[in-house]
Symmetry: C4
Subunit: 207 residues, 4 copies
């Protein structure tokens, strides 16, 4: 880094450390939302088993939220692996992105408490859209400002852009669906895993 660069730009290490810390906490405290169920009536192995069936929807939400957070983390990781430096704008794009991330558990419990109403799903999907949008802004700004490492080939730059756009389209679909079929709108997110996988394969076979 030249003298001038040193004063204008910062290395990526600290923002990565903050991101890793926030994801580690968000992914771990998800489990705190999963309470061991109380058994009503006489205790037996069968009764405990039934009580556990009762918390299965929460367990499913927990696993899905964990996997989605893990996916967001890998996307951010893929971006920052290819960036050599950040400036103040880049820092704040990431900090606001983290605000959407820490809100994920709140919207997860809102949807868990009032799953039958559109409002829960609309707000929750709006938050997801915010995550996708700021990830897009992050990569877009990095490409525009020439923050991307020289070693990264153009193919990879486009591949990441495509993956984020897939994610944007999925969150937008979920947002639209949450007005029509609120209860099922979040199922769209399941598509994200095979779609990202297929996009990845196409990219490599097309090489």
């Amino acid at each position: 880094m030249s003298h001038k660069d040193y004063n204008l730009f910062m290395s990526t290490g600290r923002i990565e450390a903050l991101v890793d810390g926030i994801f580690a906490i968000a992914m771990t405290i998800l489990v705190l939302t999963l309470a061991v169920p109380d058994v009503t009536g006489p205790l037996s192995n069968y009764a405990v088993q039934n009580a556990l069936y009762g918390i299965f929807p929460s367990f499913y939400t927990l696993v899905m939220s964990f996997l989605l957070l893990a996916l967001f983390w890998t996307l951010q990781h893929r971006i920052f692996h290819r960036i050599k430096q950040v400036d103040t704008v880049m820092l704040w794009i990431n900090l606001i992105w983290l605000l959407f991330i820490v809100l994920v558990p709140f919207f997860a419990s809102l949807t868990g408490k009032y799953p039958q109403f559109a409002i829960s799903h609309v707000l929750s999907n709006l938050n997801m859209f915010g995550i996708a949008l700021f990830l897009y802004l992050c990569w877009h700004y990095a490409s525009k400002r020439d923050f991307i490492h020289e070693k990264v080939d153009d193919n990879e730059v486009t591949s990441i852009r495509v993956d984020i756009i897939i994610f944007l389209i999925i969150t937008l679909s979920a947002l639209v669906l949450s007005f029509i079929i609120p209860d099922w709108s979040s199922l769209v997110y399941v598509l994200i895993f095979p779609l990202e996988f297929i996009s990845h394969r196409l990219w490599f076979s097309g090489k």
Copy 2:
């Protein structure tokens, strides 16, 4: 690092790791303070929407606290990006600064519970003043003890000092206002974002 320096000074990595960890946790647990509201009366989409309006002040406090913590983090980041080593005094300035940081959520809930009384705002703003003061001490001590990296130009040293002084003045104003108009005193913090932005612009255009 020479032998003598090795025994007297330490690199900045670990204090940065502790700072990043504490901020990651403080920023994530803010959301734990935001409970999904209970709906009184018959459940409907409209009722849930109304209940959510009810927690809007808490939501606003959450977003503001998150952005303020993010701002403090970027200020500490800007300082430590330019520091080559720390000694015991520097370590303790930062550790006591972290004590004020971890108290932010406590004072946020005190102000949230008793917003109508001066005492909540006075104590909360006193804590903010502590944050600004120890940030100032940190940069002042670093300049005095020659811990600043050679690559950093004097312009940047002054720019950081000015940004911290702006922050000091804002917290002092909030402290004074909390005796006169307690309920509105914390609104002063909103000024911090445009002021830091303008200061930054002036600095670069003045170059």
Copy 3:
């Protein structure tokens, strides 16, 4: 790293940071599950002492869970110390491994609440088996894909494999025992410490 490697592989730093963060949180929040007991009847030094005897089983579970998490961490540390890079598959093996890790506190409280029923122990031991299995997959994939550092000798590669297989066998035994003698099945885990120690000794003396 060559240009091509740079685009396909990532360094291990960030996944290690996420792992360290998640373990730090899981190991610290274990203590939050240990509540200071309430004394029933008249207060006295003796009464408090008796109340503390009452929470001894929870304290024992806490210490065991902490030591087991510490052991899993050292195993992951031993693996990643010897790996030079990761790809997407390796990332996801570790992310799913972390899902089993964050579930440890949930299954610990399930077993604490309903220790007399097989179902608690079966599920808890199934989770432990998942941890052992994904650790095995991680090391197996790393060896197969040639991610292991050149400096690591074959002896060490086999030693780590043996240690993970010991861990796999112990979790499988606990799983089988949880159908026969549920209450005592988790005692099997105590064996893990001397067994890993003996395996370590044999390996070094055999050198």
Copy 4:
């Protein structure tokens, strides 16, 4: 690092990351133990002020625990700054040390709930003694096994040993005092700060 060293020893980075993570969490969740007090009777500025006086002892405990944790962290930092590598024994000395660290909040609330009984103070001080003892073992083992960096002079090695022995003596005194004057035994810890400071001064003036 030679090939043989690479297989036997590990660098200190990851254990430092785990330590920093656990301290960051322990220091932040201390604040979660400080609840905003409820005001009984009519609300007024004066009533809130009085209620805040009521939680002053908890606030004092919080600040003291934070500063003690910060001190333990700096001691561990001083040790690891001077160590070039760790082996399995060193890892486990530190992991068991972390077990005592995560127990600090539990014993803090035990002492807070039953301050009038010897048992609370005896157990709490026993835990503190464990922290001091494992810190001593850590430095002792590092010196014996030649893990200390060549750049560290003997003066510094002894200085760290003296600081840990001061800490050991203080925890032992507190342990003895907790049988005689339980309520006041923990006040001994206040001595740690001036004593460490004086020891530091003597050492540097004696140079």
